[in-house]
């Protein structure tokens, strides 16, 4: 581990303090670009000053103060070049320190950070832009790393972020402290965005890529939100859900990068530390008696995590949780997932009957035909199963998904030739 004043050590402090510092500077300047520039300047000064003078006790406060003063100095110099100094800007500087110290103690910086994250979730922005913006502004990832995560060029990503910033600067985000309803809305939007970041990384088979590291980043953001707002059961649920899904990272793909189904995974590869933390979070969330979609999904994932072998899985518990999820967040995909539990509990015929009404809405959904093919295969209806798998392959989103279904078809063919 690097020690102070090692540049890596300082870098880690700067990254850790970034959300709070940029959020406070944004509140002060009400301009995202200005806030980012002020933070950059403060970081440069930290790299010069900390090795000489030692690091400050509170890195975030130091960066906010220095960034704010630097930006004001800059404004003043510009003003002197163009016009008479602005009295308001100068007098404002006198009370910088006491005002800041007081404000940080008042703990309302929580809402600053929530606002910073919320700005990135503006509904006008497509999901990919929301994620890119959050990674750039809140996490402070350099553009080339974000570009690598999205498999696009640096310039294209730079433009995407610039466009997203322009759009949110035109949208009027209120800077007053939010009321309880507004805060809850912001919280829900931020949760959804954090989960988007996670899912972006989740599909990557190689844990070393920039894309796969988005999972760690999403977990870090959820932890940050919980440190600021410790009593939000849905955020606890989201953190638990991501930890549980992430705990299987080493077991989810084979060497060729093809996905391995839950039943076939080597469960000794699951990360026990992440599972233990997730179970503790669910335990804690449940004391609130305010179930929500993230908590329920986490509870489902937890039942899988608790089973040492696939045959130990509590399918009745999972079925009950899916029923609860159908009530809280009804969707044909939830019913489709529930059908897997039904097939384990009551057989493939019952599950097939259950998903039959979904054929219309989910006809264009890869996973629907995959599940249906599987059930038909279990019932020995090989020709129908082959048709369903064929549909699934046509709808596959990735070569790995297609290859996975191809295995089923190969097995059907082998069974047929074997029985001859």
């Amino acid at each position: 581990m690097p020690q102070p004043p090692d540049p890596d050590w300082i870098e880690a402090r700067l990254v850790g303090a970034r959300p709070q510092a940029v959020a406070a500077l944004l509140r002060y300047f009400r301009d995202l670009d200005l806030a980012e520039e002020a933070f950059q300047e403060a970081c440069l000064r930290a790299l010069r000053s900390w090795p000489k003078n030692g690091p400050p006790r509170d890195a975030a406060s130091w960066l906010i103060m220095v960034g704010r003063n630097a930006a004001i100095d800059h404004k003043r110099k510009q003003a002197r070049l163009t016009a008479l100094p602005d009295e308001a800007v100068i007098s404002d500087r006198e009370d910088t320190e006491p005002d800041l110290a007081e404000r940080l103690d008042a703990a309302d910086y929580r809402d600053d950070i929530l606002r910073l994250l919320f700005i990135c979730c503006h509904p006008d922005l497509p999901a990919t832009q929301q994620i890119a913006l959050a990674l750039r502004i809140v996490s402070g990832l350099p553009v080339p790393r974000i570009a690598a995560a999205f498999l696009v060029g640096d310039r294209a990503m730079e433009q995407r972020i610039t466009r997203a910033k322009r759009r949110i600067s035109e949208a009027d985000i209120p800077f007053e402290t939010p009321g309880p309803i507004e805060r809850a809305e912001r919280f829900a939007a931020v949760g959804a965005m954090v989960y988007l970041v996670f899912n972006e990384g989740y599909t990557d088979a190689n844990p070393k890529t920039e894309r796969a590291k988005l999972c760690d980043e999403a977990i870090r953001l959820a932890r940050l939100m919980l440190r600021l707002f410790p009593a939000e059961p849905e955020m606890m649920g989201l953190l638990a859900l991501m930890l549980l899904q992430h705990s299987r990272q080493k077991a989810r793909f084979d060497r060729a990068g093809a996905p391995i189904l839950l039943d076939d995974q080597d469960r000794t590869l699951w990360n026990r530390r992440q599972i233990a933390e997730a179970l503790a979070m669910i335990d804690k969330a449940m004391l609130h008696r305010q179930p929500g979609p993230y908590q329920i999904q986490a509870a489902i994932a937890a039942l899988h995590a608790r089973a040492d072998r696939p045959e130990d899985t509590d399918w009745a518990g999972i079925d009950a949780l899916y029923q609860a999820l159908e009530r809280h967040a009804p969707s044909p995909v939830v019913t489709l997932n529930r059908s897997v539990a039904i097939s384990k509990l009551h057989g493939a015929a019952a599950a097939l009957a259950m998903i039959a009404p979904l054929a219309g809405t989910l006809d264009g959904y890869f996973y629907f035909h995959g599940v249906r093919g599987n059930l038909l295969e279990q019932l020995g209806r090989t020709s129908d199963a082959r048709d369903a798998f064929g549909r699934a392959i046509a709808l596959a989103n990735t070569p790995a998904e297609a290859a996975h279904i191809r295995q089923h078809l190969d097995r059907l063919d082998k069974d047929r030739s074997g029985s001859r």
């Binding site: 581990m1 880690a12 402090r13 990254v15 850790g16 303090a17 760690d216 870090r220 932890r223 940050l224 919980l226 440190r227 410790p230 009593a231 606890m236 953190l239 026990r272 530390r273 233990a276 933390e277 503790a280 979070m281 335990d283 804690k284 004391l287």
Partner: protein
């Protein structure tokens, strides 16, 4: 004389460690542990403060999050092995009746080695 060594660090930083960085720290610490194996007794790694719950004793109120006041000081700790958080809170409530004032923070344990000398092969809870 027995001492506890209480570990403090900035979670903004520790929670950003990669698995590799985390493992490196643990390996470095194990070297010290091996050298002083005879002197080590229970070794405990706590989960992040986001997993903590606090019982404020005088008000008998359970809140989420760690105990973060600066007026009170850490005076001791218990390790309890229970089925769930509900039971742990129940125990803490009974202790609060026996010893009112201040607060109890309940924090799940991530790694537990009852005897420090066995750290190399002890299971995780």
């Amino acid at each position: 004389m027995r001492y506890t060594i209480l570990c403090y660090h900035n979670e903004e930083i520790t929670s950003a460690w990669t698995d590799e960085e985390d493992a490196e720290v643990i390996e470095n610490l194990k070297a010290v542990n091996r050298k002083w194996a005879k002197n080590f007794e229970p070794i405990v790694r706590l989960m992040p403060t986001s997993a903590a719950t606090t019982l404020r004793k005088s008000e008998n109120i359970v809140t989420d999050g760690p105990f973060a006041e600066t007026k009170e000081q850490l005076l001791g700790f218990y390790v309890v092995n229970v089925e769930n958080l509900d039971i742990a809170i129940q125990i803490a409530r009974e202790m609060a009746e026996a010893n009112p004032g201040g607060a109890y923070e309940l924090r799940p344990i991530a790694l537990y080695y009852p005897n420090g000398e066995a750290i190399e092969d002890a299971p995780t809870p």
